[in-house]
Symmetry: C5
Subunit: 125 residues, 5 copies
């Protein structure tokens, strides 16, 4: 079946996250399915958990970095960790930890370890 | 005739895609013509397939990465695969696969193979 | 009347292009003066050529890449071809060809030739 | 009443900063907690200090660089200084100084010293 | 009255520039103080000079590159010329010349000279 999942029925639930001021549009199932034990999944499993913390356009407010959230959302979409050259892996790790995505955080820690000499504490990746 | 095709008549159909929160404005013929067997072409060949899955501005909602979609849309516009330095080819490949663009996916796989040593599994391009 | 106030009655004629979803604000004289024989200049020489192909904010719709259009518009503004490191010259070339800017296309072809070995067909600049 | 709905009656106090034209959405506690002696913390400790300096959407106006503010806001969120490759450390330092964040400024000065030879005065990082 | 509320009655005079389609919010004193003899300072010294050349949100229209204007505005804010890696110095120079900022243009010319071999005429920095 080539029909994308979100075209079937109306049980897919579109929503927009306002991450630090930038909108990310996605579906509830993307946020919930891939890492079901994460805080992010818990936050969006039920309809009304976040209640009144929305902006004036109805997007869910999250006080985090939009730039480093982008690869995390893509990971939830298709299961691959894919990061552009120049983007600091430690920034993505902070977000993975915040959202309670433990397997992803481990993957990031391993990638950081293999890309930096252990005595390097510079803020730049 | 120097007049661009989309200026002739009214059979060209402008539309906006909301890819993960970022708007991409294009025409139906761009989405449909270049890879006619792809899922993307199938999704937009007829007027009403996506029905009610639109955002509040009328843009078609697609739960994917805007950054990696950009070179795919350009490829549909002019047939060339052109990717900036630093953009992860594997990210573009995930989108090509999602949209069922097989020829493009093969081209990307070949480019990834020739740019990375086979034992490298790092998340960075 | 949908025409924004700033477009009425001033001898400089401001307009906004919607290039693939991103707005570019410029003047008609910038689009027309530097390469007067190009398709782009022809498209904007007269007031009403593009007629009804505008978005809901009145911007002229063009189904092309915003990223690679940026250096082309700057070239029209001041006559210099200036491209950031990492931006693919071949992407800019595709736009120069689409808009019928022949001198600029030649300049870009020469720059591509001098920056890449002839047998390199990789999608990355 | 100009207060957006999402700011009323929730114990977390969301606000948007308009830094040089780009919106950053965050909470008052993020701005106030991490470096409580900074000018930034002082500016946002009380509700009404900035009074009438808001834009038409209610965002607090600050006449500074959005690009270099981004890592500063992330630092306030999680306590880590994380900067992408290619971003000029001196740009972030200027913002840290402007906002009176002394510990962060010292950290940045040390990072700049260790990444540049002392006789290099080039504007590029 | 088109003047936004936040511009009335505060001694700091906020304004937004629409540079080629991207908004930059700043104050009149930033534009006027640092290089008082520049064309930019002259343009904004008095309230009504640019008269009717505003967009529909009240931002002052300037037909130039937003990307290369960014470091120029930061320079006016704090007096430092700070440019990210990968951004073409020649692009910033074109803007400095357009706005009549002579000292800044000289600084940029010196930086370009010291970063490029004299026979290099490539469009890439």
């Amino acid at each position: 079946d080539r029909t994308p999942r979100h075209q079937q029925g109306s049980h897919t639930d579109w929503l927009t996250l306002n991450i630090g001021g930038r909108p990310f549009t996605t579906t509830r199932s993307t946020l919930v399915s891939k890492e079901p034990d994460s805080m992010l999944a818990n936050m969006f499993r039920q309809m009304d958990v976040w209640g009144n913390k929305r902006d004036e356009r109805g997007a869910y407010l999250i006080d985090r970095s939009p730039e480093y959230f982008e690869p995390i959302l893509n990971y939830l979409r298709h299961g691959q960790l894919i990061i552009n050259e120049g983007v600091n892996l430690r920034g993505v790790l902070e977000e993975a930890r915040f959202f309670g995505m433990e397997r992803l955080a481990e993957q990031l820690e391993a990638a950081i370890k293999s890309s930096q000499p252990p005595e390097d504490h510079s803020p730049i990746s």
